[in-house]
């Protein structure tokens, strides 16, 4: 295939199709076995220093906030992040010193990203759908995927995409490499003990992440009986054999919302934006100390940081139920 142009951005995670297949053959459980564990166990077992990590949605809506806090709490190092369609996850992890490379789709507060540059974190520029298309390729087990966007821009130039001649036609087409993250973190409405997970409402790319990632940790608002899954299989978003760990995490997206279950918490969200914008980084340090390091686990976070009164209020504010349950 004739390559006409190449982005100069570093490809942080080079596709290795057969290596991935070999990993899956060895490690993914095909049997229907229980996978419930605490977030502490799940993160320590499945997230290694240096891993490349992707997550679905944002800390504003159905993001895996409690799992992200646990990654920070365990002071994981040198992680790579697929930062598309995100607000705070990249920023918190970078500020906590967990990250050494970021693929940027959209990462929220730019000032915090500038600080990350100064700390020597490497970045490549993409866009939201470029990264979800890369995950799609990863989930299909193919090495790359042609797309009709990204070309011609600075985002292309600082990515690792390529412009090629379509081998069957005469047109130029942009190619982006598959992304098979080491770890996928996904928060869902409901899941059974085996990992059959349901998401209600729109999403970014939960199934692509669950399918493409080597290790998949699902946190769930509630654990439901498999009988309910079998009665309504059309509502299963992620089937069990893609999932490695199931963590029960009610209010696990806080400060974000989970549609139909609880509303987002603007007070806490604005606090995060405010501390992220502090050029010295001091406020962020204090924020992480208060909400992550000084807290043992998600249950204690709910008790000490969120509190019963707010939990009830956020539940009350989620007045829309239709379609989300």
């Amino acid at each position: 295939m004739e390559i006409l142009d190449s982005g100069i951005g570093e490809l942080f995670h080079i596709p290795d199709l057969d290596g991935h297949r070999a990993y899956i053959r060895e490690n993914k459980k095909r049997a229907l076995v229980e996978k419930v564990m605490t977030e502490q166990e799940a993160i320590s077992k499945y997230v290694n220093d240096g891993d490349y990590l992707c997550y679905d949605c944002t800390m504003l809506m159905r993001g895996p906030s409690s799992l992200v806090r646990e990654v920070i709490r365990q002071r994981k190092k040198n992680l790579g992040l697929g930062g598309r369609f995100t607000y705070m996850i990249v920023i918190l992890m970078a500020a906590a010193g967990c990250v050494n490379r970021i693929d940027i789709g959209y990462i929220g507060v730019g000032a915090a990203l500038k600080r990350a540059f100064d700390q020597g974190i490497k970045v490549a520029e993409w866009s939201n759908s470029t990264l979800t298309m890369r995950l799609l390729a990863g989930s299909l087990g193919i090495p790359f995927i042609p797309i009709r966007f990204l070309g011609g821009t600075g985002a292309f130039h600082y990515s690792a995409a390529k412009l090629a001649k379509d081998p069957w036609g005469d047109k130029e087409v942009v190619l982006v490499p598959a992304l098979n993250p080491d770890v996928g973190l996904i928060h869902v409405h409901q899941c059974d003990v085996y990992g059959n997970a349901r998401i209600f409402g729109p999403s970014v790319s939960p199934l692509e992440i669950a399918t493409a990632s080597k290790k998949v940790i699902v946190s769930t608002e509630e654990i439901i009986d498999t009988e309910y899954i079998r009665r309504d299989p059309g509502r299963t978003t992620i089937p069990y054999y893609l999932v490695d760990a199931v963590v029960e995490a009610p209010f696990g997206s806080h400060p974000g919302e989970v549609a139909g279950v609880y509303a987002s918490d603007p007070e806490s969200i604005f606090e995060m934006f405010r501390v992220a914008g502090d050029a010295t980084g001091k406020q962020m340090e204090q924020f992480l100390e208060k909400t992550v390091y000084s807290i043992t686990n998600h249950k204690e976070y709910l008790e000490k940081i969120v509190g019963l009164e707010k939990i009830l209020a956020l539940k009350r504010r989620a007045t829309i139920k239709q379609g989300y349950s």
């Binding site: 990204l150 970014v204 509303a263």
Partner: protein, 272 residues
């Protein structure tokens, strides 16, 4: 319809865009992020096109949002996605755009140039050492690449309309040369269509792809607009005058669409 005499710059841009959507009532609109693009679409839905084909970046198809939305959570929220006909995901709507199903994208831009390219990445310095850094392309790149036509929102300021940008995050007509977009791998016959500011509407010359001033608000003259640009656009032979917002439009915006004023409160107040 009662002519309004006091409104914000953001309100002016929303009213202009909502009227465009009224004209294009049978077209589809792909909107990413919040801000004036989404507010314009919601305003048009309330006022002119109840069954607007609005598609959101996270896969929501034709929602009838439960407005007012929560502060900050202008989209990606249960309320914004309410009463849609389908909740899909990012790759699904991206593929719909790739197939040519989406007529218009509406995008907020930090900076634009004579060819309607968009910068939303950084200002000053270089890529690895930016003076001011922003969030990145987000979904703007795919919207600007694959919708048939893109409508850009920008404020009328010299630092926003620049000859050459520090970075092209999302594509306009690139360097303006014939078929520049296709050579870069983008779909044919796509590109920026209008640039809407609170006081002007621009299009692009069919030959040169250079930005062209088409219409101005009644409280400015052509010179006032040109003074607030770093480059001189082409100007239409017959300059149109934009009708100012009406009280009826503003009522919908302020009471029904954005009562907290989070978006429509942006920019200076205009007093006629």
């Amino acid at each position: 319809m009662t002519r309004a005499t006091t409104f914000t710059e953001a309100e002016a841009s929303c009213c202009i865009t909502a009227r465009m959507i009224k004209q294009g009532w049978d077209k589809s609109y792909w909107v990413g992020g919040g801000g004036t693009p989404l507010i314009s679409a919601l305003m048009a839905q309330k006022l002119y096109v109840p069954y607007l084909t609005l598609v959101l970046e996270d896969g929501v198809i034709a929602p009838q949002p439960d407005i007012p939305l929560d502060p900050l959570m202008v989209f990606v929220s249960a309320k914004a996605n309410y009463r849609a006909v389908a909740w899909t995901n990012m790759n699904t709507v991206c593929s719909h755009a790739s197939l040519g199903l989406f007529d218009y994208g509406i995008l907020l831009t930090l900076q634009t140039d004579p060819y309607g390219n968009i910068n939303s990445s950084f200002l000053g310095g270089d890529f690895y050492h930016p003076v001011r850094r922003f969030g990145g392309a987000g979904g703007a790149n795919e919207i600007a690449s694959m919708c048939w036509r893109t409508i850009l929102h920008c404020t009328q300021e010299k630092r926003k309309f620049v000859k050459k940008m520090d970075f092209i995050t999302s594509p306009g007509y690139l360097d303006g040369s014939p078929h520049a977009r296709e050579r870069a791998g983008l779909p044919a016959n796509t590109g920026p269509y209008r640039v809407v500011t609170p006081e002007a509407v621009f299009g692009f010359d069919e030959e040169t792809r250079y930005m062209k001033l088409l219409a101005i608000a009644e409280w400015v003259e052509v010179k006032d607009v040109l003074d607030k640009m770093d480059f001189e656009p082409m100007t239409a032979k017959k300059m149109e005058r934009l009708e100012p917002p009406t009280e009826e439009e503003l009522q919908i915006l302020r009471v029904n669409v954005d009562p907290s004023g989070g978006t429509i409160g942006e920019g200076k107040w205009i007093n006629l």
